[in-house]
């Protein structure tokens, strides 16, 4: 859905339509190099065409004069290309240094972690963690710190700029900073920019998508605030934040029994319209009936898993399965039921099958259709 908000651009992953200072710097260079190469190509092809027409053998023609070489010509076609090379190398090296220079000022740092086959985005100064859809403010310098949780990936959102490999962090002697790659840019216009992993990382490499949602400062701030306030349905209504994972069961019982109006009595903070019983049931599934919390986190609830994507405000995302599908309840049900059927190689256990992840075997989620429907309703409710 949100993909369509990028309307007007035919190619959502176009490399020649940059929206950041970084992308523009490389694009300017590309245009320059492009015309140099076109010039050379035109010369070579024109010469070749001329030769092929002009010097065809004519009837009765004898052996042509055996010319063995010409020093002047050899020097000419060594030096001329050498000069063009210099003309390309100088701006290239300038750009090499320019794009790798860390920005100054009020820099927003994002710790990007690539994992098979999804992305985690953590804003250390904001305390926000999300997955696959990276919200960023327009006009503020951003530095992405890239790190892999498993194999090598590559972060590539073409309109933001060129890709940078997302390497696993190699051990270093104590006292030294481990080496990580960075990507620096300032986004110049709002929009949703598409990208994906660009280093072959395994079976589902082709479906490891990225969305960058570039917003105005205010919208971005609102998104952050939203993230930090638990979604009304995230945790059970009357349970305060201190509530342990054990309590929700009783709640789901009471809400579903009550139907429409009784929910009001449960909302001392004045926040909740009556809760959908299916959502409450889904929450129960999430926390009690399967082991979702082992891998997933939801802000404002006891769920704090870090193996899988953070699901805070999951319903507010436009896509699921790392940019692969529109985030509809129907797709979500299909995904939870059979992740590998939807996305071959996905590392989430299926409702009825086991996966082995990093050498560890995860049993089936063991959910029936009714439970999955409820779970999808719960996750989607957290907008």
């Amino acid at each position: 859905m949100a993909s369509l908000s990028a309307c007007g651009q035919e190619y959502l992953q176009s490399t020649i339509n940059p929206v950041t200072d970084y992308g523009e710097a490389t694009h300017r260079l590309y245009v320059q190099v492009f015309w140099w190469t076109m010039l050379i190509l035109a010369v070579v092809w024109a010469l070749l065409a001329f030769i092929l027409i002009r010097f065809r053998e004519k009837p009765g023609q004898g052996r042509p004069k055996p010319v063995h070489g010409h020093m002047g010509l050899e020097i000419a076609w060594t030096l001329l290309p050498a000069l063009i090379v210099v003309a390309i190398v100088i701006p290239t090296i300038q750009a090499v240094f320019q794009i790798q220079r860390p920005p100054e000022g009020d820099v927003l740092v994002v710790e990007v972690t690539g994992k098979r086959y999804w992305w985690s985005f953590h804003f250390p100064e904001l305390g926000v963690t999300t997955a696959n859809e990276l919200h960023l403010p327009v006009g503020r310098p951003v530095s992405l710190r890239l790190e892999s949780g498993d194999v090598i990936h590559s972060f590539w959102v073409p309109q933001i700029g060129g890709k940078r490999d997302v390497n696993p962090v190699v051990m270093v002697p104590e006292g030294r900073e481990p080496k990580r790659n960075w990507m620096h840019f300032t986004i110049k216009e709002e929009g949703v920019f598409w990208g994906q992993c660009a280093e072959f990382c395994g079976e589902a490499h082709s479906l490891m998508g990225i969305r960058v949602v570039a917003q105005s400062e205010e919208e971005f701030q609102a998104w952050v605030d939203d993230w930090k306030t638990p979604a009304p349905t995230a945790a059970a209504p009357q349970v305060e934040e201190s509530g342990g994972p054990g309590t929700p069961t009783s709640v789901s019982g009471s809400t579903s029994a009550g139907g429409g109006s009784p929910a009001q009595q449960d909302s001392p903070a004045g926040m909740a319209p009556p809760e959908d019983p299916l959502v409450a049931r889904g929450r129960d599934v999430f926390f009690r009936e399967s082991y979702c919390v082992l891998c997933h986190a939801i802000e404002g609830t006891p769920a704090a898993g870090i193996i899988g994507p953070n699901l805070t405000r999951f319903g507010g995302r436009t896509t699921l399965a790392a940019g692969m599908l529109p985030n509809t309840e129907e797709n979500l049900i299909a995904w939870i039921t059979d992740p590998r059927g939807v996305k071959p190689g996905a590392q989430m256990p299926g409702a009825q099958y086991t996966v082995t992840y990093e050498g560890q075997t995860f049993p089936p989620l063991n959910l029936n259709d009714e439970q999955i429907r409820a779970l999808a309703a719960y996750l989607s409710s957290m907008r």
């Binding site: 035919e10 992953q13 176009s14 490399t15 490389t26 694009h27 260079l29 590309y30 190469t37 190509l41 070579v44 092809w45 010469l47 030769i51 092929l52 010097f55 053998e57 023609q61 052996r63 042509p64 004069k65 055996p66 010319v67 063995h68 070489g69 010409h70 050899e74 290309p81 090379v85 390309i88 190398v89 290239t92 750009a95 090499v96 240094f97 794009i99 790798q100 098979r116 090598i152 590559s154 073409p158 700029g161 060129g162 890709k163 940078r164 490999d165 390497n167 696993p168 190699v170 790659n181 994906q196 660009a198 280093e199 072959f200 395994g202 079976e203 082709s206 479906l207 940019g323 692969m324």
Partner: protein, 608 residues
Amino acid sequence: MSEATTAAKANSSVHEDAVGLWSWITTVDHKRIGIMYFLTSFFFLFVGGFEALLIRIQLMRPENAFISAETYNQMFTMHGTTMVFLVAMPMAVAFFNYLVPLQIGARDVAFPRLNALSYWIFLFGGLYLNSSFLFGAAPNTSWVGYANLTSLQFTPGRNVEFWIIGLSILGVSSILGGVNFITTIINLRAPGMKLMRMPLFSWMTLVTSFLLITALPVIAVALIILGFDRFFGANFFEVTAGGDPILWQHLFWLFGHPEVYILILPAFGIISDVIPTFSKKPLFGYPVVVYAGILIGFIGWGVWSHHMFTVGLGPIADSFFVASTMIIAIPTGIKIFNWLATMWGGALRFPTPMLFAVGLVAVFTVGGLSGVMHASAPVDLQQHDSYFVVAHFHYVLVGGALMGLFSGVYFWFPKVTGRMMNETIGKWHFWTTLIGFNLTFFPMHFSGLFGMPRRTWTYLAELNLETWNQLSTVGAFIFGAASLLLMWNLFYSWRKGEKASANPWGAATLEWSLPSPPRHYNFPALPTVRSREPLWDDTERQEVEAVTHAEPAEEPHMPSPSFWPVVLAFGVALTWILLMTHTWWMPLLGLALVAVAVFGWAFQPAYR
């Protein structure tokens, strides 16, 4: 082995070649080995082509599921691995084998049995690598096999083991071949055949052979330490134990870039012989073209990290590799300008070999120039690992290497078989190849620029990449059909082609002074060479032909056939393959066979 049979054998060998399957299995004749190399690599060309077509069908539509993601990953891995190691390299080696002794005036290569050994190891390695399909475990981590994806943790199963062992076996073959051709060219040139009088193809063979013996050990090291990680739990690339996966990339590309020149220089050599022939002019700037080739070979060692601009090596390393990579464009350009200058003022004829040679000049230039684009590191950050790069290296390796090899096939076919290839089918083959090739790969520039990463099983419909991919798919089928024309032409011309004279093209170099096909001993006696174009000077030609067309005065001193190379090759391959059992003593069985074969080899007289 009575004296009578020996004598009869010796006698017959002067007048006719031995016949029958066994004579081919035990042959040490460089020409027969060359033919076997060609046929084997030609077979693998169709295997790799078939894999390419499956890839193209899968990508014809977005979100397609014609083949599964896992199958797709095996297909693109095996397509790349096959085309590089089982097609382009051995097909060039086929030409080395057949032509180098004929071009430099030698009776055979320096080590004929070693030559047979190279072939058989290559054959066994290629068959073994492809046997992985029978187990559903074809390599699936791409032809560059980046660590740490190749670790046991992230790619369990036998796929990577097939790849490690298969490439190790093939590497042995290539190194042996390199040693053989260097020795041959340095030591076995006919009187007067100074290095600077050698045909360009032999020159490029020499440069390529040096690259083979220096680059292949690097990948061998990489494969072996990767094997240690997987088989014995070493931690060279294991991050959690202090290893570094980036090390693999350095090792791989330190091999991988010279490898690119291993693939392209033979083609440059071929067309440097073809273009003068059909221009009726000597090669323009011969020494410059030679030096440019040598220079490419040298600088080719200093550019590997241009495959790694996205890795994050820092601006200083990036800048160095930008500069070195740009520099290597200069000698490449020099070659192109010298080919143009060779044709300038010539009397150009366009039979099929010349069409492919000119096609190479036109098409390779596109690949060379897109290479200049991503030599600019910041530009490469967008293009790297996208279809733009796929377009680039297919322009270089298909438009360059393969077109050059095809040119060579049409050029030397009459020498090898004594028959001309059919020109009508040849022209159809050329034009359909040119159209199919460009239609396949030119649109990839656009799919890349519009954001399609390579090695992706599928792409989302919203990316609007369908049209470009469909064009590529149509082109690929035209290209595939064109290659069937070549197959038909080879078969048809071999059976029914017009008889060829000794020098049907009016070429200048020594191999054309021999009858077509040459006798098994090549030269009845060694001719004396006085120039670079011995057959273009009437007096020199008569002198040379007086020698090369004569009957040998006495029985030529030729190496005897041996079945030990095939046994030893099998032992070498078996030793590697038995590693798959993960039982420490199993490879010893292979080594035992190696020992037996080496013993038998050593004690069998090399000459009758």
